[in-house]
């Protein structure tokens, strides 16, 4: 089970004055069960890239294979793919339209051709897994707070039982608490449901803590692809393209410069804390 992108190129408004070469020769292999972060500054092509994964936009050139099958084949079932690769757009709360939250979440599964009962069952499970309290379910979605609306929208995609969940900047415009809640929820789904998750973000801090693999986009190309540690190792190059490694990375490098042998590869506050404490311990032991 995998998604393979083979030399994918995409050009917006081809052959006009507004032409934009948004993706350049993208080669990627996404395995089952991975937790991937895609990062890059605004306009680097992240959203365009993920819209290829469920066939919403068709590559100008190159091929995409889902579980070994070419998605651009004549007889490939695009509708089924859209159920398998669930795509949560940026500001997904803007797509809500039904009279109640529950009905809105049922929209996806009903489109898949499920019976009313099955659809409701899946909506139920989905709303549970995004952690929206049941008392809200039969209210209008337009009366919720921003963070709650976003959960409903995510549930709307989850209810289709996708194998791969792609989230485009799920934390944009949320306060720190709302951000952590959503990301924790996503991490939990990855762990409990074993879903493949692709998280798009422009904040290193957001993703470093959660993902196993980081893909850095720059001007439509993949710049780095590896574990967060490997990627943050290039923190100076990242900075040159307007991205920053997590703050602790800088702190650790500063400490090392001062001759304190901390772990320069620490990317989360927890790791940094452990490493610094270990240094103190070593020093005390020596003296």
């Amino acid at each position: 089970m995998s998604i393979i992108l083979d030399k994918v190129n995409y050009v917006y408004s081809e052959k006009t004055a507004y032409e934009v070469h948004a993706l350049k020769d993208i080669n990627l292999k996404i395995e089952d069960g991975e937790f991937i972060g895609i990062i890059g500054h605004t306009g680097s092509g992240k959203s365009t890239l993920i819209q290829h994964l469920n066939g919403l936009v068709k590559a100008t050139s190159g091929g995409i294979y889902y579980n070994g099958r070419d998605i651009y084949d004549e007889d490939f079932n695009m509708k089924e793919l859209r159920g398998k690769v669930g795509l949560v757009f940026q500001y997904p709360e803007h797509q809500l339209f039904e009279t109640t939250i529950f009905a809105d979440v049922c929209f996806g599964p009903l489109n898949q051709g499920l019976s009313k009962k099955e659809a409701e069952l899946q909506a139920f499970t989905a709303l549970r897994s995004v952690g929206l309290p049941e008392e809200y379910w039969y209210q209008s979605p337009f009366e919720l707070s921003g963070g709650q609306k976003r959960r409903v929208a995510i549930a709307g995609v989850l209810a289709m039982k996708p194998e791969v969940l792609v989230l485009d900047e799920p934390t944009a415009g949320l306060d720190p608490q709302g951000r952590d809640e959503i990301l924790d929820q996503v991490a939990k789904m990855h762990k409990e449901l074993g879903m493949t998750i692709i998280l798009v973000s422009h904040s290193m801090e957001d993703v470093a803590k959660y993902v196993d693999r980081l893909i850095v986009m720059n001007h439509g190309s993949v710049m780095f692809d590896g574990t967060p540690k490997e990627v943050f190792h290039h923190y100076q190059e990242l900075e040159a393209v307007g991205l920053a490694a997590p703050q602790v990375t800088y702190l650790m490098h500063e400490l090392r410069k001062k001759g304190i042998p901390v772990d320069g590869e620490a990317t989360t506050i927890e790791e940094a804390k452990a490493s610094i404490l270990k240094c103190f311990q070593n020093r005390e032991n020596r003296s």
Binding site: S13, K15, T16, A17, Q51, N54, L56, K79, R82, G83, G86, L87, F89, P92, H94, Q95, L96, F97, F107, G108, N111, Q112, F142, G156, V157, M160
Partner: protein, 266 residues
């Protein structure tokens, strides 16, 4: 798909027409449209064609881009042509079942179709070479004298410019919401008319909500910057005629004279 709508779109290029004062262009288009609906016979047709071709050529906007705007009116075009073709009385050419096609009908259908196509092409030359802001600035200044008879010229111009500004935003928004719903399995293409109309609900509700939200935001932003109508408001780029504008006025007037002469003499 939805992005193919080019009405009201601006195409940046470095041409004489792009740099003209919007008032000149407005005047030119008015004269062009008048000539378009008054010409008679093959010579008039050639003259209008020449004028249009010259306009397109000088504007440096690719022809392919202009033609895209025509797609939107294909249906209107066909219906108009049909009416003219079947309902004009006169000398019968062919009879299919009960429907008679007359010589006059054929002629007026062809000319009507040409007029409509030329109308769209001509007016798109205006909008493709003029930003919405320039256009409304031009209108506001051209119609300023109407202020004396209490026509709210500035307010109308502001409304038009906001409406024009919102077209591409709403098109983009539609595209985005459409994609988001397609990602949730929505189907906007298949099914009969009723099914298609029903399928629009998940698109239209979010679209209206977003339009109101944007309108609200804009109103707030304008108020926050102390906007209170046109009185005493100055322009960052006041319109001033250049040499090219005067020459263009002469060219347009020359064209008008030829059109009138042809109409009278031929």
């Amino acid at each position: 798909m939805i992005r193919d709508i080019t009405i009201g779109q601006y195409y940046p290029a470095d041409s004489v027409i792009h740099k003209l004062d919007p008032r000149v262009k407005l005047f030119g288009v008015v004269i062009y449209v008048i000539s378009l609906f008054t010409f008679r016979g093959i010579w008039g047709f050639l003259l209008v064609t020449l004028a249009l071709a010259a306009m397109i050529k000088i504007s440096k906007v690719p022809f392919r881009f202009m033609v895209k705007g025509l797609k939107a009116i294909v249906i209107i075009l066909i219906i108009t042509a049909m009416f003219n073709l079947f309902l004009t009385p006169g000398e019968t050419l062919v009879t299919i079942w009960k429907i008679k096609i007359t010589k006059e009908g054929l002629k007026s259908a062809v000319f009507m179709a040409i007029r409509l196509i030329y109308l769209i092409l001509g007016t798109s030359t205006l909008t493709l070479t003029t930003t919405p802001n320039q256009l409304t600035d031009g209108m506001e200044k051209a119609f300023r004298p109407l202020n004396h008879i209490h026509v709210p010229v500035h307010e109308v111009a502001m409304m038009i410019s906001i409406a024009l500004r919102f077209i591409p935003i709403l098109v983009e928004e539609t595209d985005k919401i459409m994609k988001a719903q397609i990602a949730r399995g929505a189907d906007f293409e298949s099914g009969n008319l009723i099914k298609k109309a029903k399928a629009m609900v998940p698109l239209l509700v979010p679209l209206f909500i977003s339009a109101f939200r944007r309108a609200n935001d804009l109103a707030l932003a304008m108020e926050a910057r102390c906007y209170n109508g046109g009185a005493g408001r100055t322009k960052m780029k006041p319109l001033k005629y250049q040499k090219a504008d005067h020459i263009s006025y002469l060219v347009i007037l020359g064209y008008l004279v030829i059109v009138i002469l042809m109409r009278v003499l031929l």
